[in-house]
């Protein structure tokens, strides 16, 4: 054998050596992630240090502040860091929360349908459809939103009196919370469906059969046994969807209206027609001001908040799944 494949068995590719090489590769990947986290927080530090907790508070117009921050970094004057990000944070919460809530409801029903109730032909159609919807690039969703959904909302759903009532504050052109939430829902629901249905399929058949044998109908059996046992998968899918929704930048930059504004639910139903701008699109829109040091710090601070909240959700999901491990289903 040694004569046949000398290079493969020579000392150059000995097992120990390969193991060390692969180990080094793995360490490099881990190191890269740590370096990234460290870099983002170090770069963000000046912004947090100058603002303290008021970074997350409300006050003034974010656009104005970002502009001041950017300009202060160009001249020789002292850097300005004052930034109150509440409008962006609130918009992120509203859009992510709305989309995840709707997507959770839809995905649960659709995955139950796919796993249990859909006839064979329907299942064969739905599974590729879900995979397709998950793989459509976000910029295409954004384009369709801008060219179809936004004009539809602006021309047909928003009434003239509604436009007039907020004319002095903001213009309702269709770029709105509603458009952002609806499109984001379509983007994250397929992700949830695929993870949910994997979880539902993993439920032990014996448990379902036990329930059916007691005379419980199939619908109740699925909801009371399968969906409950599959809860870790549901948590996992939801967490992934939340992370995706928080980090979505380009599509939301296109349809959310890109105005730093905090829609107020207390104003009545009109708030869903109001434009806003979440955190991630703010980075995209202000990317050209990276050259100004204080603006650079502010954008990295936004990135740090995104990173931190994504990590927080992952942790929550992990804890929740650990707590549910006793139900016997794995996710």
């Amino acid at each position: 054998l040694n004569e046949e494949y000398p290079s493969e068995y020579g000392p150059k590719w000995s097992d120990q050596r390969v193991e060390r090489m692969l180990g080094a590769l793995v360490c490099a990947v881990v190191g890269l992630l740590l370096a990234m986290i460290a870099t983002v927080f170090v770069r963000a530090w000046p912004s947090f240090a100058h603002n303290g907790l008021s970074w997350f508070g409300a006050g003034g117009s974010v656009e104005e502040q970002l502009n001041q921050i950017y300009l202060s970094g160009l001249g020789g004057a002292e850097f300005v860091y004052t930034f109150h990000g509440w409008q962006l944070i609130w918009s992120t919460i509203l859009i992510t929360g709305g989309a995840v809530a709707i997507a959770l409801f839809c995905s649960l029903f659709v995955s139950v349908f796919i796993v249990e109730f859909a006839p064979e032909w329907m299942r064969n159609v739905l599974q590729p459809v879900v995979r397709f919807l998950a793989s459509v690039p976000s910029v295409i969703y954004g384009l369709l939103g801008v060219l179809i959904l936004v004009p539809f909302i602006g021309n047909h759903l928003v009434t003239e009196p509604q436009k007039a009532s907020v004319a002095g504050v903001i213009s309702l052109s269709g770029y709105s919370l509603l458009a952002a939430v609806l499109i984001l829902t379509v983007m994250i629901a397929p992700l949830m469906v695929s993870i949910f249905s994997d979880g539902l399929r993993a439920v032990r058949p014996g448990w379902l059969e036990g329930s059916l044998a007691l005379g419980v109908n199939r619908w109740r059996t699925i909801w009371k046994i399968a969906v409950r046992t599959g809860r870790p998968a549901i948590v996992a899918g939801t967490v992934l969807a939340v992370a995706r929704a928080i980090g979505e930048a380009v599509m939301l930059a296109m349809v959310s209206g890109s105005v730093a504004f905090a829609p107020n639910p207390a104003d009545g139903l009109i708030f869903i027609y109001e434009p806003s701008r979440p955190l991630a699109p703010t980075i995209v829109k202000n990317i050209d001001s990276l050259g100004s040091p204080p603006a650079n710090a502010t954008l990295f601070a936004i990135a740090a908040v995104l990173l931190f909240s994504a990590a927080l959700f992952s942790l929550t999901g992990w804890v929740a799944r650990r707590a549910m491990r006793k139900y016997g289903a794995t996710a």
């Binding site: 990234m36 770069r43 029903f109 659709v110 064979e120 739905l126 060219l147 379902l208 990317i287 990135a303």
Partner: protein, 333 residues
């Protein structure tokens, strides 16, 4: 008494796991259910059909718009400055850019991804490092791509990596195909690792033992037996990763964009283009949409249609690989 047993409860036969195709009379219909349960089933049907309708609407709408506005000349002419949509050329640079980014990104992500997956499944010592690596891969999957892009600006604007992009008077711009591909390979990495791992761990232990028994080393076993056996999963992972790379916009806007044409730097042929800024289809669609700088919706539709075709082709390829792998059968234990 006779009457009470005349209508026995509908015998619910277990739907059964193994034969996923129960015969018609074996499955209890919804006729005996309570109204609330039947409404639930109706919601299931409605939402399932809604998903299908959305997908069909996206494909058909983009197909109609794409076929209306897409001219073959757009695929071969680069974008030029012009006042109307008929004067401003096509998006050949964007199409080429997408291919360049896809090839470079995946050729960086594939070896690294396979390496990490092989280490995780075949070596995985010390255990603590293995656990950390698993969390790392999961974390990379959860990081928003815009954050990756910002990190990329830090790396590639450093003077040590200045040779990878345009620089003048000590200021490195950090926008190049190198920068964008390197960061996009991180987007694809988790998918490749997960898929390859799945493939490797599905191979039963006795296959490895048989190989060791005839004197093969671990790495020879991995290279000659395990990786070829896991090829469908590796291919699936690569294609899923490719889809993510092609579809990503945030990284491109930050690390490559700012132009709709190639902006070569220097003169050595392939590297001058790779070092320069450029564009991809996603970036072109973003800029050509009404919210972008170009505002040419017709071109945006045409480019989006081409992009969608690429994505559909990738999806179809994944399906073919899956079907082939299933036909090839699974390992017997």
């Amino acid at each position: 008494m006779e009457a009470s047993i005349a209508t026995p409860p509908a015998a619910p036969t277990p739907p059964g796991k193994a034969p996923r195709q129960p015969t018609k009379d074996a499955v209890e219909g919804s006729a005996t259910w309570r109204l609330s349960d039947r409404i639930g089933l109706a919601i299931c049907w409605a939402l399932g059909l809604l998903f299908c309708a959305i997908a069909v609407a996206i494909v058909i709408y983009l197909m109609i718009k794409g076929l209306t506005y897409l001219k073959p000349s757009m695929l071969v002419t680069p974008a030029t400055a012009g006042f109307s949509q008929s004067q401003s050329g096509g998006f050949s640079d964007a199409l080429l850019g997408t291919l360049i980014v896809a090839v470079m990104g995946i050729s960086l992500a594939l070896p690294v991804g396979i390496g990490v997956a092989v280490w995780l499944v075949e070596y995985g010592r010390p255990t603590a490092l293995a656990r950390v690596t698993e969390s790392t891969i999961e974390a990379i999957a959860g990081i928003p791509s815009i954050v990756l892009a910002l990190f990329g600006t830090v790396i590639f604007s450093s003077t040590t990596l200045g040779f990878l992009s345009r620089s003048s008077e000590g200021v490195v711009f950090g926008r190049s195909f190198f920068a964008a591909s390197a960061m996009l390979s991180l987007v694809a990495l988790p998918l490749i690792v997960a898929s390859t791992r799945e493939g490797l761990s599905a191979i039963p232990q006795h296959v490895r033992e048989a190989s060791y028994a005839i004197g093969k080393t671990k790495i020879a076993t991995t290279r000659r037996i395990l990786l070829p056996a896991a090829r469908p999963q590796v291919a699936t992972g690569a294609m899923l990763g490719l889809g993510r790379i092609i579809g990503d916009t945030a990284v491109i806007v930050v690390l490559l964009g700012a132009t709709q044409n190639f902006a070569p730097v220097g003169s050595t042929f392939p590297f001058n283009y790779l070092r320069g800024a450029g564009t991809t289809l996603t970036n072109f669609v973003y800029e050509a949409s009404p919210t972008g700088n170009l505002n040419q919706p017709e071109k945006a539709y045409a480019a989006a249609f081409v992009l969608l075709l690429l994505v559909l082709a990738l999806n179809a390829a994944v399906d073919v690989v899956h079907r082939r792998a299933r036909k090839a059968g699974t390992w017997s234990h």
